[in-house]
Amino acid sequence: MDRTLAFISIGAVTLILSGYAMPQWAVFLTTVSLCYGTVVLGMILLVRTGLVSFGHGLYFCLGAYAAGTLKPFFGLSELVFMLIAAILVTTITSFALGFLLRKYRDIFFAMLSLAFSMILYGLLSKSTELGSTDGFNVTAETAFGIALSELEYGRYLIFVITVGTSWLCCTLLHLYLLSNKGKLAEAIRDNELRVEYLGASVNNIIHINYVISAVLAGLGGALMSISIGHIDPEMSYWTTSGEFVFITIMSGSSSVIAPFLGAAVFTSIRSFAYEYSPDTWQLLLGVTMLVIIVFLPEGLWSLFSKIKKKGSP
């Protein structure tokens, strides 16, 4: 069996088992890390294709709002439906926008995706039915038909579902990256023209990868909204997308485990810095990012791969 897959599965089981004994704050931090990790999972797929999106907050936010609006508009508050809604909405939107975005590269791709996410921000922050800039509260009342009302047990179940979803996304993406289509991503980054000459359609692959990354961002957003219980348009603001890019660079794109490591480091730095010096946490993040760009251009994950290479030359 694949070592990465084994590692992911062992990690997921460990998290589920230890989640029962973990203090509330640790469960919360892990949940947030997993949600961010799922979003960044999609971002590394794009980075492998040679694209950096400065507007993935769009799908993070869309996923969260798709999950959140099920209750007020359709009277549904089943967690599974919320996740399905997020997948549907992000798939349709990214499929449509993909026709445009797949023609863009480099900074123009980044800027057009930024424009789309800010359009959503502009719309949501002025829509009074959806709570304008304040957003609204989201509650999942049942999961697989089981009532979540009993607080402690319910929270744990949401945690288990979050771990499960992240595990599934991570596994599927890993398998995709190993498939022929998945391997073409890096070929596109290196030289598009040659990929075309080899008989593959660059546009199609970019389109597919874009939709996958959007769905992952949407799932991350939906899970986040359910765990935190609140959503607001800030999720689509450019600083949120910036955070995703930040974690992506911090993690590196060489492994599907890297995003979760990066997200965990990011959330920990943010939470602890926020706790101990609320006025300098961004400063700390900025310095961390510069240090990583200068000393670890391949991301945190390269620390592990370097050690591995030394072990088996």
């Binding site: 922050s125 890019v245 300098t280 961004q282």
Partner: protein, 298 residues
Amino acid sequence: MISFLAILIDGLIYSSWLFIIAAGLTLIYGVMKILNIAHGSLYALGAYTAASLSGLWLSMGFAPIGSFVIMLLSAILVGIILGPIIERGLLRFMYGRDEIVLVLVTYALFLILEDVIKLIWGVNPYYLYQPYALLGSFEILGLTYPNYNFLLLGSAVFTGLSLTWFLQKTQQGKILIAVIHDSEIAAAQGINVEKFYLITFTLGATLAALGGVLTAPMISVQPGIGAETIVLAFAVVVVGGLGSLPGAALAALVIGLVRAGTVHIIPELDLFSVYLVMATVLIFRPKGLFSSQEERKI
């Protein structure tokens, strides 16, 4: 008629504001190929510095009209102190890296400067309303506008014209154009490219700070103004075509008028309209309105 006029005037004022901020950003991109997110922080720093220094000037009882001089000095102060520090201390080690990496470097810088601002000025808003009221106001068809807006308009026109003059009529400007076209060949001709990077970045930083300084009397200066502004400046610069000064001017005009029109007719779509323009232009002209042709890389 009156609302048409109002849209036109509001649009022009807003365009002027947009242009002042976008000019520095597009200049830096044109020369150094850096899309500088920290431009937003320099803008905010300009606003804070002006609010503090002019506030100090006014509270010491000096002639209120002098606060305009202090405002101008604040912009220059921020530009010539921070510009070289950032360029020499950080950016010069990054030249030659991927454009996206450079964006991230300036994003990190943005995060750092945001907190530096909070450390210096705290999180409470600052107000500098005196200069806004000082110049009186004028009335046109029953609409009243503070004369301060002329200052904004004048500064934008002055910025645009003097930059164009510098680039096209002076020797240094022409050398700069050579650097823009091909920095390697320029260096081979004996041009000190690094010096021009330093000058450009300092100039760009000063323009960002000037934008902030001129805005300070019109808003409450508080955390978050940098983040809000930089993304608008991005819209202008990208719509105009990265690195193009006339492009930025035209884009500022278009976006300014569209936003003013939207605010008057459908106020709910205020911000939405700006980014809709950005997306629409990018869809039809992927590299912006004034873009230079680029050879295809094989």
